[in-house]
């Protein structure tokens, strides 16, 4: 700094200060319009967390525009005023300066400060998104080549086609895939997660504007990728309940246990199937012997756990229901038969096998 004071004021060249003023004005105008634009990305914010993301976009847009103006306009201006004039010597040389420590200090320090600010601000927005409220309604989105299915609590069968969400309801969406990696993107909500097979990613949204919004696959998933999309229908509570009822949803947790031919199951088939499908998460020991889920060795005869995890009595039918519909509770998420790709016949075999374990 002191250096700068003692230094004689160097002439920065013809029109330097006017150009600087021009840059400031232009950047100010652009920043103003960016910061005040209601839809900076060009899409309406149709629910949480879109407004937070838009705010960050406005801020970055203003900063970016300013930096872009500085670099571009100065570069062009220097290129014009310092171009070798026609009448100059064929090989005329320029001002011979090597560096200016003060200047270099500032153009290292200012960006650093700017980045600290940006990082803090982004982190704040990131926390907002992470803490977006959810869990009033929990939906499972399962993708396959090439489409989506949605599992709602208290719906026996997953819903194919459109996804419906009630207005102003904090919703948690668990996304996963059955085959390859897909994407789950709701542009109007500014939110996205990859749907990775064998992994459950979580989104939280709160729809605030009724309407129909696209859900788009953003990870390449094969020949059908380009056409892999569906629609999110955000509707009022009443309409949602109506739709929910049409889907066969009921208030009791009866679920679709029906149609499982429990009598026809065989122990050996169940044992094989258990090895393939269940043993990654469930041991055949007592409840306490957890891997991911509880041990299932004494599921029908465990004095320590007279009830099943969903609170129902340990009957073969109720166990079958859990295998069929999956379960979500404090101990974790049990995927549905749909996601495990096992048939009713398989379920019968598994239940009989588990029963045989409990007898020993």
């Amino acid at each position: 700094m002191a250096q700068r004071v003692v230094k004689p004021r160097t002439n920065l060249g013809p029109g330097f200060w006017p150009v600087t003023a021009f840059i400031i004005v232009v950047s100010a105008i652009m920043s103003y319009f960016t910061l005040t634009s209601p839809w900076p990305i060009g899409l309406i914010p149709a629910g949480e967390p879109a407004p937070a993301t838009d705010a960050l976009f406005r801020f970055l847009g203003a900063v970016g525009a300013t930096i872009f103006n500085i670099v571009t306009i100065y570069t062009i201006y220097f290129g014009i005023v310092f171009a070798k004039p026609k009448n100059a010597l064929p090989n005329a040389i320029g001002v011979q300066i090597h560096d200016a420590p003060v200047l270099e200090f500032w153009w290292t320090a200012i960006p650093t400060i700017l980045i600290v600010v940006l990082a803090i601000y982004s982190t704040k927005i990131w926390l907002d998104i992470q803490n977006t409220q959810g869990d009033v309604l929990t939906v499972e989105a399962i993708s396959y080549q090439y489409g989506y299915q949605f599992r709602y609590p208290r719906l026996a069968q997953p819903v194919s086609g459109e996804m419906h969400l009630p207005l102003n309801t904090p919703t948690t969406i668990h996304v996963t895939s059955r085959d390859v990696i897909h994407g789950f993107w709701i542009p109007e909500m500014r939110i996205k997660a990859d749907m990775v097979p064998g992994l459950i990613n979580t989104l939280r949204v709160t729809p605030t504007v009724p309407g129909r919004y696209p859900i788009i696959c953003t990870e390449f998933c094969g020949v059908g990728h380009g056409s892999m999309k569906t629609t999110l229908v955000v509707q009022s509570q009443q309409d949602f309940s109506k739709w929910f009822a049409q889907q066969g949803g009921s208030q009791s947790s009866a679920g679709g246990g029906g149609g499982i031919p429990l009598s026809t199951g065989t122990v050996d088939a169940g044992k094989v199937l258990f090895g393939q499908k269940c043993s990654a998460c469930h041991s055949t020991g007592p409840f306490s012997q957890k891997i991911v889920g509880p041990g299932l060795g004494q599921i029908f005869s465990d004095p320590a756990h007279p009830k099943l995890v969903n609170g129902s009595d340990p009957t073969t039918q109720n166990v079958a229901n859990i295998v069929k519909n999956g379960f979500q509770g404090d101990i974790g998420t049990m995927p549905s038969a749909q996601m495990n790709a096992i048939s009713n016949k398989d379920i019968a075999n598994l239940v009989v096998y588990l029963a045989s374990l409990s007898k020993k």
Binding site: A92, I181, W185, G226
Partner: protein
């Protein structure tokens, strides 16, 4: 042996440099299996240039397909193969070989005053892996080319056609080649600089090559591991990535990006070097803040290793890990900004000679800045939740890789063309090439920004009709872009035949390679010169001792004696 002025710091001086190996006489040893770094450089450029044309053709196919929302020409399956091959070819068969193998081989030894690279035979071997890999890659079309994008995420790449395995082999091969080149260059730069050329007297292009070599010899073998695993899983069903057999698809993303993010810097650091040569030469001015530019090169190279997961914010890694990766990614903007500002300051107060390389260098400054800023939008995790996997990413990466690397490559080609061929190109055609490139480039890729923001995902053969206008706009611009490349080809084809003789130093540049005849003689330097300072001090006498310069080379460089130094 060159004698040094008293009291001059010396770099590593090697008697090896004094030694001259006889020029081979047979055609094969001279042009096909030559161990001369210049010939190998030409070979890299010709091969890479051919692949560039093929990859560009694929790009035009992509754009043509997107003329219509329902796909104008080919089926979705074919389209996937086309864009996957376009990406793979541009990254591994064009840009990386050209910046390291091409320019690195031709220019770097000349600039450090060496007669060849440290391991000429290794250099030869590394080159010949390149065309082989290219042939394997492109011939995979015959068996069904890889179709999961240049990133080839499993599990979908496990379902891919047989060509995907050939892709693994080809990229593995080019990876080995680039590792060997990296090792070769590090040893060359570290051990074979001319006497007196301390690290802080190296031309900045050499600094760029140094950083790139470091990146490629560390990171590339990680990619080799990832590719080997993918190949094994595809061929022998060895489970690494397939969740059905207990693997993890995210593992591939970590291993792949651990290489492929540094690869971005492998592709851009030498181009930074080219820009740092072109700007001072045509501003007739010392490059501004030499030390800071050199330092930022190293900083970028180091930081480049610790940001790979910013490609995976949506793929389900531990949430809190996203923050450090976001912050380090943003920090990389600081050294990059230092470079940009230093280059602008180099323009300031210069006496700017508007030649074609200068135009491309300044054009690079603008487009690359734009690409860097959109990089910020992607680095901020919350925005990445919106932009990941959309055309916004496509726009960003083309601004960095085409507006950055490729335009820098054009600058370098125009700049060193006289040195390589001994002939000048047609400046007017050069202007046409630049302006068409600059306008058409922005016309092609600028719309992709808002296409992505508004909801167009990348890698789609079909898209929502509402996006058709801007897609057609981009496609038409891309045709103009292709046309500009044709101008470039015509220009150099004619220059070969009828270009006017360039002489040793047509630009009045001051780095060592301009002190010898063009094209350089087989030995580069009859006597190895001693170096007293950075080359960029226009207005000072040339800082070389004991240099037997070609006739007219030194006279061509302006000095204070011949030219008054202006003051503002």
């Amino acid at each position: 042996m060159a004698t040094l002025a008293p009291g001059v710091k010396t770099g590593p001086y090697h008697a090896v440099l004094d030694h001259i190996h006889p020029e081979p006489t047979s055609f094969i040893r001279k042009y096909i299996f030559s161990i001369d770094h210049k010939v190998i450089g030409y070979q890299y450029m010709i091969t890479g240039g051919l692949f560039f044309l093929i990859a560009g053709l694929l790009a035009e196919l992509i754009r043509t397909q997107l003329l219509s929302p329902n796909g104008a020409i080919v089926s979705a399956a074919t389209y996937n193969q086309i864009y996957s091959m376009h990406g793979s070819a541009m990254v591994w068969m064009v840009i990386i070989p050209l910046v390291t193998g091409g320019f690195g081989n031709f220019v770097m030894p000349l600039q450090i005053g060496a007669r060849d690279v440290a391991f000429p035979w290794l250099n030869l071997a590394a080159f010949w892996m390149f065309p082989v890999a290219g042939v394997i890659l492109f011939s995979s079309f015959l068996w069904g080319a890889p179709d999961a994008g240049w990133t080839e995420y499993p599990p979908v790449s496990l379902q891919g056609p047989p060509g995907t395995s050939m892709w693994c082999v080809a990229i593995f091969l080019i990876g080995i080649s680039s590792t060997l080149t990296g090792i070769n260059f590090i040893v060359t730069i570290y051990k074979m600089r001319a006497p007196g050329m301390t690290l802080t007297r190296m031309p900045l292009f050499v600094w760029g090559q140094f950083g790139t070599a470091g990146l490629s010899f560390i990171a590339t073998t990680a990619l080799a591991g990832a590719l080997l695993a993918l190949f094994l899983e595809r061929t022998f069903g060895v489970p690494f990535y397939d969740p059905k057999h207990g693997g993890s698809p995210v593992l591939w993303q970590h291993m792949f990006w651990f290489y492929s993010h540094p690869a971005v810097y492998i592709m851009i650091l030498p181009v930074f070097g080219i820009i740092s040569e072109v700007l001072p030469t045509f501003s007739r001015k010392p490059v501004f803040g030499y030390k800071m530019i050199a330092f930022s090169t190293v900083a970028i190279a180091l930081l480049g290793f610790s940001v790979w997961a910013h490609h995976m914010f949506t793929s389900g890694m531990v949430p809190w890990l996203q923050l450090p990766f976001m912050i380090i990614t943003m920090v990389i903007a600081v050294p990059t900004g230092i470079k940009i500002f230093s280059w602008m300051a180099t323009l300031w107060g210069g006496s700017i000679h508007w030649t074609t390389p200068m135009l491309f260098a300044t054009g690079f400054l603008i487009t690359f800045t734009c690409g860097g800023l959109t990089g910020f939008f992607l680095a901020a995790v919350p925005l990445d939740y919106h932009e990941h996997g959309t055309y916004f990413v496509v726009a960003h990466l083309h601004y960095v890789l085409y507006g950055g690397s490729v335009m820098g490559l054009f600058a370098g080609i125009y700049y060193w063309w006289p040195k390589m061929t001994g002939r000048m190109y047609n400046e007017v055609l050069g202007y046409w090439h630049f302006w068409l490139t600059f306008i058409a480039f922005n016309g092609t890729f600028m719309p992709m920004h808002w296409l992505g923001l508004l909801g167009m995902p990348r890698r789609v053969a079909l898209y929502d009709p509402q996006f058709q206008f801007w897609n057609v706009f981009a496609t038409i611009s891309s045709y103009v872009l292709a046309g500009s490349v044709l101008i470039f080809l015509y220009n150099f084809a004619t220059s070969f035949r009828s270009g006017k003789i360039a002489g040793p130093n047509p630009w009045g540049a001051r780095t060592l390679e301009w002190m010898i005849s063009s094209p350089p003689p087989y030995y580069n330097y009859k006597k190895i010169p001693a170096v007293l300072a950075t080359p960029y001090d226009f207005g000072n006498p040339l800082p070389y001792i004991g240099l037997e310069a070609a006739a007219g080379a030194e006279e061509a460089t302006p000095t204070a004696a011949s030219h008054p130094v202006p003051t503002l």
